[in-house]
Amino acid sequence: MTGRATFGEFAASATRRLGAIVRGIDLPDWPGSADTCADVPVAVHSAMRTLTGYGEDAWGVLGDARLDSTAQLRPWIRAASQASPRIDDSEVLLQSEPGGEDRRGREEQIDWTGQVGSSMRAAVRSMQLARDLLHTHLDPRLSLAAEGRSEWAPVVTSAPVACALLDRVGGWASQIAPVAARVAASGRGITAAERRYLYAASQRLWAISWAVGEAQERQPVGQDRLQLLEAIPVNARPASSYPAVDAAVSGLCDGVISTAERLRAAARQAAARAAWSPTLTRESLRHTAGCCAITASNLRIVLRTLAEHHGRPGASLNGSMAAAAAAADCARATWLQAAEAWDHITTDTRGATSGTAADATRLALWTGRLAYASSDWTPALGPRHAARPATDLAASPDQLRHVIDAIHHASHTLTFVGEADRSQARSASMTGRLIVPTRSLPDSFDVPFRFAPAPGTRSAPLLSSYDRAVEASAAATDAIAELAADAKAPSRMLAAYRTAIGAGLAASAEGSRSGHAKVAVARAARDHATTAAPAPWHAPAIPAGPVERILLDLDITSADELKQAAALDTAADQLILRAATAAQAARPGRDPGRSAGTAELISHLAAASGRPIPEALLPARPVGRVHGVDGAALTAHPRAAQVRARQAELEAGA
């Protein structure tokens, strides 16, 4: 799907090599000479370690999911438990054998000349590389900010993919078990202890295989989930690039895909840093929104060209393409609204341009070169450019598939960027980073400073414009996904990706509320075992409350304890709300948030309650004045502006 190494490639290599060994078992003279078998115990031991590593990973996801899961996952949870590492009989047998440690230490020094041993070693290496590839997406640092290193992290740590992973493990176990058993039975080239180890290992492998088989029988893993696992690429950010003047359609498609991937990575990073990032500027967000509108427009042109001129008139694919073109046009219009919403608002930082904006520019350029026939198309005005002819876009079925692949990636990226920029805008709004020039406010505002916090009448349309852009981009992506499925384009995995993310969101809804999932994923990466359903990178903006945060600061990751803390925070919010509503006749000038402790509680209440908070909780409001961002009054009460901005948003939303 991306041109990078995928899990499926390594996994297939391991399966192929093991399959070759298994096919040889039935030969009359197998396993041949003693030399051939001498290395098998070490190879099997290495395979066992790798497989139990996979089991540990799956258990990390499914083991924690058992707290909230329905009966659907239970067979897979049992399978994960079976495959998880343990001090079992086979391990003890190998360790207790005099020289057993030496045998394991020899693993790296052995000359793997024997056919069985070398083949198995190569297979195990492929299995290890496949697992390492998955772990490139996870962040080993334990911190609240750890949400994985890539957009694939939520997929890697999702329950459906964990089940698919176990399915793979079960398959490998069923291939290795008979080999171990046959070598043990032959007894050639191995010691008595190694023979006992191989018997025990084969039993354990069969147990894993049977547990997975039972789970697959009771609750089959869909083919789409298996394919999604196979499609997970190594985490590497493509280099930035610009289209060459003489680039062919195929090269342009590759450029669109790699630039789209870059843009998604940049957007994801920007969303995580929104509260403090100096590159969260009006320039960046305006430019990104504008470029997304241009990209959507380019996608519409490609789809319209294909719909009007590709294949027989009235063919079913043409109808789907026309529908997708209409959806892309809708996305274009909504992105345009997002860009226009930035006309009336600015940010507290200026000048810097984010990586997201730079990559959005490149994606607009790449898609423009694909949409238009001119080899030097740019967004700047110039001679009128004709659309690229359909015969050029779809010169062959493979080329058409490639074009659909590219526009699917681009559309998926628009959705992704919309979610990321919406998250940034919300963060900026909640932290008081959205401002307006006071000269743009009506004369009725008496503002002694050049800028003032953006009133709800300005920020609310901005935020809702992103909602519409995300919705329309997702609809366009769904429409293009149908084309990708029909054309069997590699990008059809993106639909499975979004489904898995959606499943992860649903499964982790409770965990995300408490902040538990974030910690769990970080812990999982650190230990090479995930412990929760994934935290989406665009997790809800509701912050953890004071009690919950203290637990998180103490590295508490127990779901029960974190849920209890979240419940305490919610109860405190409700108590304060009730009390404040009853005390509307507040003393003039009283500021209940004057201390750090109470201010934190009220700030959390403002963010989490989802409705206007009582007047009695608001800081004292100077009569007839609005504080500017560069004013002393605002500096003295920075929280006041933030809480009032939040209040204005809620009122505007109401």
């Binding site: 009006r282 320039e283 305006r286 430019h287 504008g290 470029c291 509108a293 241009i294 427009s297 042109i301 345009l336 860009a339 226009e340 930035w342 006309d343 600015t346 200026r350 000048g351 520019t361 607009a364 350029l365 423009g368 740019t378 967004p379 700047a380 005005l381 110039g382 001679p383 009128r384 450019h385 020039p437 000269r439 004369d443 050049r450 800028f451």
Partner: protein
């Protein structure tokens, strides 16, 4: 009289830094309004008009940060013509002309203004005006 002509007249009439800043602020606002009004008139200008509108909003915001910008509400041009009856080519020419003038006047103060922050704001606003001119004339890729 349309907004672009009015903006050009104010810009030409300005004789000092506060006057130039005041008229430049209004000019960017008017360019932005006209671009938004016409951005969907023709598919061929869509991309250039969007990016130019972004640049106009950025230029206006840079002017708003300049310390020498007079405080108080600027003149409102809301009732004037947004080149409703003009063809896209005429709109492009009008905006290219006023953006070139904006870039020229602001560039001068980017060097000569006494306050360093005024110089920075004028310089950045001039760059945004130059970007609009480039997009309108097809001079540069993005």
């Amino acid at each position: 009289m349309n907004r672009i002509i009015r903006a050009s007249e104010r810009l030409n009439a300005a004789i000092d830094l506060p006057g130039v800043l005041e008229s430049a602020y209004g000019a960017f606002e008017n360019v932005l309004a006209v671009l938004r009004h016409h951005q969907e008139d023709d598919e061929a200008v869509f991309a250039a008009f969007i990016l130019s509108a972004n640049a106009a909003a950025n230029g206006r915001d840079w002017i708003a940060w300049a310390p020498a910008l007079p405080s108080g509400s600027p003149p409102r041009d809301s009732g004037e013509d947004l080149l409703d009856s003009a063809c896209v080519t005429a709109v492009v020419l009008a905006i290219a002309e006023v953006s070139a003038e904006l870039a020229r006047r602001l560039s001068t103060y980017a060097v000569t203004a006494a306050d360093i922050e005024d110089r920075e704001c004028c310089g950045n606003a001039a760059a945004e005006a130059a970007a609009i001119h480039a997009l309108m004339s097809g001079a540069n890729p993005p």
